[in-house]
């Protein structure tokens, strides 16, 4: 019993530590915008944004907490079968989605289809733990090649960006917007704000371009005979590709202008103050001030592009190149 108590204590620590990492969205620009809109009285948008953010956020947390115990350790611990079963059940009980289902059942106003969908998530998490199947993405191996000597870095950066929740949140918005537009229900005036919203969701990632490279990656960058600006371009190309695809069905020019501005501001934070990020979490911002500046400038660039058209790409590109030249040098000086 003593060792079960000790293990449950460890699981509790792991659970709260894991839950703590979910708060990464606190410095996230989408979160900041949501709070701002709440004060401005645009509550319906806040509700929509928070529901989407909540769903994207909660899915990775739905895996059983037992996955936090290294497999090698789990297999050599002198635990009896019934003790292992007890811990697996405790893992399910610790899942926040189970609590949510219980609360919703008690509330009694949610349809059984929604309850079933939510309840499926921890169940899948439980199966993954028991079957020891690790989640992997074979499609990541078959990414296209790029005609550049930093080809492999681009492929790596593409894998990195697609392991952030910001990417999936932005993709969710883009997909819903595209579908609504396809049905003819999206007014033209909504295209520009929606494009900006998608760029805004991606903007926190642009403040932490090196956040997922880890200590090993940063050491490798310091050893490569490559100019700093090239390393930044290898990051930016991927972000611009994503923004291009996501805003293609909306207002592409406004999206690209806003993205160039978002990167121009984000470089300094990425280089000066890189913060380690976690996969399958929302990205944390470098600083609140830089996040606000980034949001204001990208919104300004987007609306200006809406007013002046494609020609506004020129000043955005100039600012972008100035930023990359300055921050590229900074990157090499650290």
């Amino acid at each position: 019993m003593a060792r079960l108590r000790s293990l449950l204590g460890t699981l509790k620590t792991l659970f709260f530590r894991d839950w703590g990492t979910l708060s990464s969205f606190q410095g996230n620009n989408l979160f900041t915008l949501g709070i701002a809109l709440l004060f401005l009285g645009a509550g319906s948008f806040l509700f929509f944004a928070m529901v989407l953010m909540g769903l994207v956020l909660i899915f990775p947390a739905s895996a059983s907490i037992l996955r936090k115990i290294p497999e090698e350790r789990w297999s050599v611990w002198p635990l009896r079968k019934n003790e292992k079963l007890f811990l697996q059940l405790a893992g399910i009980a610790m899942n926040p989605l189970i609590w949510l289902v219980i609360l919703l059942v008690l509330w009694g106003k949610v349809s059984w289809e929604i309850l079933l969908t939510i309840a499926m998530m921890p169940f899948i998490g439980f199966l993954l733990t028991v079957s020891k199947v690790s989640v992997c993405f074979p499609a990541w191996l078959r990414l296209p090649s790029f005609p550049w000597r930093l080809n492999q870095l681009l492929r790596k950066n593409l894998r990195e960006i697609s392991s952030t929740l910001d990417f999936y949140c932005a993709s969710g918005f883009a997909l819903v917007s595209a579908l609504v537009r396809l049905n003819g229900n999206l007014p033209d005036e909504a295209l520009l704000p929606l494009s900006l919203l998608i760029v805004l969701i991606m903007s926190t990632y642009a403040q932490n371009l090196f956040g997922l490279d880890g200590a090993g990656g940063m050491v490798r960058y310091s050893l490569l005979p490559v100019q700093g600006w090239m390393l930044l371009v290898a990051k930016d190309v991927v972000v611009l590709m994503v923004v291009f695809l996501l805003t293609l069905s909306l207002n592409l020019i406004a999206g690209m202008c806003a993205a160039l501005m978002m990167l121009a501001v984000g470089h300094a934070a990425s280089v000066r103050k890189p913060i380690d990020q976690m996969r399958w979490r929302f990205q944390s911002g470098g600083s609140f001030a830089s996040g606000i500046l980034q949001m204001l400038l990208l919104i300004f660039a987007g609306f200006s592009a809406g007013h002046f058209g494609v020609v506004f790409l020129v000043p955005c590109a100039i600012l972008y190149f100035l930023s990359i030249s300055y921050c590229g040098k900074l990157l090499r000086s650290f």
């Binding site: 000597r149 492999q152 090993g216």
Partner: protein, 255 residues
């Protein structure tokens, strides 16, 4: 400084706050030499390698690699050295093979030469079957072999290897040893750290030992009159062995 001194440093100091990790060390390594840099954990080996490879800046002192210094010719030095860093310097999101292709592309090798050398290195280091594994899915030994292959694939004139043999299986370690010996015979200068003294005894031409940030021995291996083990234990302060009586006694009697 002699023109054949590929690695040269003088009065090198590195402080971390109040702690002095490297304390006024000076040495040189001639072309085609395999120099082993030995010492216990925390003696300053990796810090020295980091300063020599431009990963960190010295607090004071001079470092010259191939006659150049990082302040003026950083990229020129980087393009002519191969490094196996302490934390291996791998990207979680690249496979073993992609790491080698990346290195070939960045150091300007043609696609065909990169492919050819990648195949050769993967075969020799027994990584062929795992070539499509992401670095984060690899064992420590596989990651180390990948980092080693990245250090040598572009045939640099100078190699810095931080504990290349640790965690590597004996067969692969032997292959790595033979690659290094052949490279040194053709003029490559190699600076490596290791705790496996038997391997260093077979491989090195020059031996340096560091203790508490100071160099306490620097000579050619042929000038060492005792075995490397004996020299190491003589120069390093080791704690006296203590009998932990509880270890090996009846494990159930004390619960």
């Amino acid at each position: 400084m002699n023109s054949h001194n590929v690695i040269f440093c003088q009065e090198l100091i590195k402080n971390f706050g109040a702690f002095r990790a490297v304390d006024q060390i000076s040495f040189y390594v001639k072309q085609g030499t395999i120099c082993a840099f030995l010492g216990p954990n925390g003696a300053g080996k990796s810090t020295t390698v980091k300063m020599l490879t431009g990963q960190i800046q010295p607090t004071s002192g001079i470092v010259k690699i191939l006659g150049c210094d990082f302040g003026k010719d950083g990229n020129s030095i980087r393009s002519r050295m191969g490094v196996l860093p302490e934390n291996l310097g791998l990207f979680d999101d690249l496979t073993i093979e992609e790491h080698l292709l990346l290195t070939g592309d960045i150091y300007g090798l043609s696609r065909s030469v990169t492919r050819e050398r990648t195949e050769e290195l993967l075969d020799l280091l027994d990584l062929s079957e795992d070539r499509h594994r992401f670095a984060r899915q690899c064992s420590h030994g596989m990651r180390k072999k990948t980092s080693f292959a990245m250090a040598v694939i572009h045939n640099p004139p100078v190699l810095f290897l931080d504990e290349p043999f640790e965690a590597v299986d004996p067969v692969a370690a032997q292959s790595m040893q033979s690659i290094l010996r052949q490279a040194a015979q053709r003029g490559t200068t190699i600076f490596l750290t290791s705790h496996i003294l038997s391997m260093i005894q077979q491989l090195a031409d020059q031996v340096m030992m560091i203790r508490s940030g100071k160099i306490v021995w620097n000579s050619r291996l042929s000038e060492v009159s005792e075995s490397l083990d004996e020299l190491f234990f003589r120069l390093q302060e080791s704690p006296k062995p203590k009998d932990m009586e509880w270890l090996g006694s009846d494990p159930f009697s004390e619960r």
